[in-house]
Amino acid sequence: MNDGSQPILSLRGIDKRFGAVQALSDVSLDVRPGEVVALVGDNGAGKSTLVKIMSGVYQPDGGEIVFDGRPVSINGPKASQALGIATVFQDLALCDNLDVVANLFLGHERTTGGVLDEVEMERHSWELLRQLSAKIPSVRIPIASLSGGQRQTVAIARSLVGEPKVVMLDEPTAALGVAQTAEVLNLIERLRKRGLGVVLITHNMADVQAVADRIYVLRLGRNSAEFAIGEVTTEQLVAAITGASDNVVAERAARDRTGSAITPEDIDPYAVLPDGAGGPGHVSTDPDQERDA
């Protein structure tokens, strides 16, 4: 039985090629129950590919997936859902013309004697939304009349209908305002409290700092760094994402060996960036390179 210290979902040495492109090589990732793991990386770093492997859209070319202690192969979206991995994609995939209840149970409608059991589904919807302390005024209004944050809430609540163990959220706050982002982050917090493993894919460092327990940084299809929250600053994260990570890790490793604590001031993430790599505080002396960047 899983006592929370063992990973519920574990990826080991995942490889994925698309033709001549090595999209992922030797990528590893662990998610434990009641833990929010942030997966960050620049565009093209392989985040989406990794999510699609976990959700069964792609099959890996190499490596091992262990779910709840058993090696598994996820050969399709249904297999992923059957294991207990729910994915909330960025475009939410809700039907605007249907109400909240219909969307929550779409494809898994409850019936009695072949007839939709609307009462049971509505009751269950409220139960689910209450557990998430979600602010939806009515479950009998079309999705179209909800705000972006409320839609995200419905999409996340829908992922919980099948009682999953791991929930993957792809850029859940990308299109949201300040208040709505806070709402979704609260929701992620509640998923953690329910003992779910959460994988949060995001570009937003503030979100990461707000809810994540551990952070995996992908860069060019490889594990570039792994941080526990509290031991890393946004600047360090940005450095790891943009490619100065070798030095960061090396520096920290060196410091760890000498036993001194790391402070943000110890590391200047842009000091080692090659010319033209950009970043705040980076001043290029070469106008051509500045334009290329």
Binding site: A93, L94, C95, L106, V119, E120, R123
Partner: protein, 409 residues
């Protein structure tokens, strides 16, 4: 009183009193959620206008004729509603109805088949045609517009081929399909009993739902409201039956048509399949990801549309007592599609109700019947019908825009 699950949010605008219900109805109309309102208002207007022109328009006799004339193309229109709910179209229903009627008539008259077998084979051909459309659509991604345009031409040819050199086939005058489509009416007591039974069935399901909602701690309308609605419903049905009974009464064929509409409506609103139809019409990709068997939904709906077309063709053959090369031709297609759209089925998919076929067809048939009564020629009828169709599509587009601007697209 304890607060039920669904009334806890303080932002929810309550609608308990009749006045609040009225204002919430107004709010829905303004935000583009029109539903059946335009077509019902339109039908009432048309009836008043023609009644003022000629008071025979609302006579029992004319309304019985109206019900008989609506049922044939109305049956075809029911299939169109299903296809439109998916955001697709079937332009070939006229030709297919002609093929269905021809197959039935030729088997019956020249092959000596029993009527029932002839009808069943024609319906099976309808299922096959729609399944073929569905397979072309789902497997090769050919737009339904083009598939069914090809079908319109091809099945017109098939109809001529089935009828062969005979041209026109007269059905035997004693066959029950002719009786059914022209001369069979409910007796007065049966029609009143039916009205009461329908009211009781409605009341029973309402009360059961209210009871279950209360048990589940959800807000429920009052028992009294349900009883009042049921009483009003029975009163309206009784009055309608009484008024039609002044002439021949409630015809078997119109009753069959309305029963099919009610059945399709229940399937659409109360079954997983119906939910899938709305989901695919609303957002196909979302439905696919949620595990809805999207291809099966398309194929089933196309098959249902062609089958309803054949059924309409068979009823039309019975009503006219013959099948000819022109059966299902001229304006059958256009009337069937126009009725569905006028009834409030959105061309953009995902919105509409089976009752669109009922009210849309009644509007079109009322226009035809009213113009006939005041002695206006066919050319005016086509122009008026075209204008009404344009109006309906404009309302659909405007309400879609209103939904967008009020954030409910």
């Amino acid at each position: 009183m304890t607060t039920t699950y669904d009334k806890t949010d303080e932002r929810l605008l309550e609608s308990e009193s009749p006045r609040a219900a009225l204002s919430s109805f107004g709010r829905r109309i303004r935000s583009g959620d029109l539903g059946m309102a335009p077509v019902i208002i339109g039908l009432a207007l048309i009836w008043v206008i023609f009644f003022l022109q000629n008071d025979r328009f609302l006579s029992s006799r004319n309304l019985v004729n109206l019900s008989l004339d609506s049922a044939t193309i109305g049956m075809i229109s029911l299939g169109i509603v299903l296809v439109l709910l998916l955001g697709e179209i079937d332009l070939s229903v006229g030709s297919v109805s002609g093929v269905g009627g021809s197959i039935m008539a030729v088997l019956l008259v020249y092959q000596g088949w029993p009527l029932l077998s002839a009808i069943l084979l024609a319906l099976a051909v309808g299922v096959a045609i729609g399944t073929f459309y569905g397979l072309l659509f789902t497997q090769f991604g050919v737009p339904s517009f083009v598939i069914t345009l090809a079908g319109l031409l091809a099945f017109l040819g098939v109809q001529l081929w089935v009828l062969g050199s005979r041209g026109t086939v007269n059905l035997p005058i004693d066959s029950w399909i002719i009786e059914f489509a022209n001369f069979k009416f409910l007796s007065d007591p049966v029609s009143y009993a039916l009205a009461v039974v329908i009211g009781l069935a409605y009341l029973g399901t309402r009360l059961r739902t209210i009871q279950r909602r209360r048990a589940a701690n959800l807000s429920a309308p009052s028992f009294r409201g349900a009883v009042i609605r049921a009483v009003l419903m029975v009163a309206a049905l009784l009055f309608g039956a009484w008024y039609l009974n002044q002439d021949r009464g409630v015809g078997y064929m119109p009753l069959f048509w309305v029963a099919m509409i009610v059945a399709v409506d229940l399937i659409l609103r109360r079954t997983r399949f119906g939910r899938s139809v709305y989901a695919v019409g609303g957002n196909e990709e979302a439905a696919r990801r949620a595990g809805v068997p999207v291809n099966r939904v398309y194929i089933t709906v196309f098959a249902a549309a062609s089958t309803f077309a054949v059924l309409g063709g068979i009823l039309a053959a019975g009503r006219l007592q013959s099948v000819a090369q022109s059966s299902g031709g001229t304006d059958t297609n256009l009337m069937a599609i126009a009725a569905a759209v006028i009834g409030g089925t959105s061309l953009f998919g995902g919105r509409g109700s089976a009752y669109a076929a009922l009210f849309g067809m009644l509007v079109l048939q009322s226009i035809t019947s009213g113009l006939n009564l005041i002695g206006v020629e066919a050319e005016v009828r086509y122009i008026v019908t075209g204008a009404v169709l344009l109006l309906a599509v404009t309302i659909d587009s405007l309400s879609r825009r209103a939904r967008r601007s009020s954030g409910t697209a």
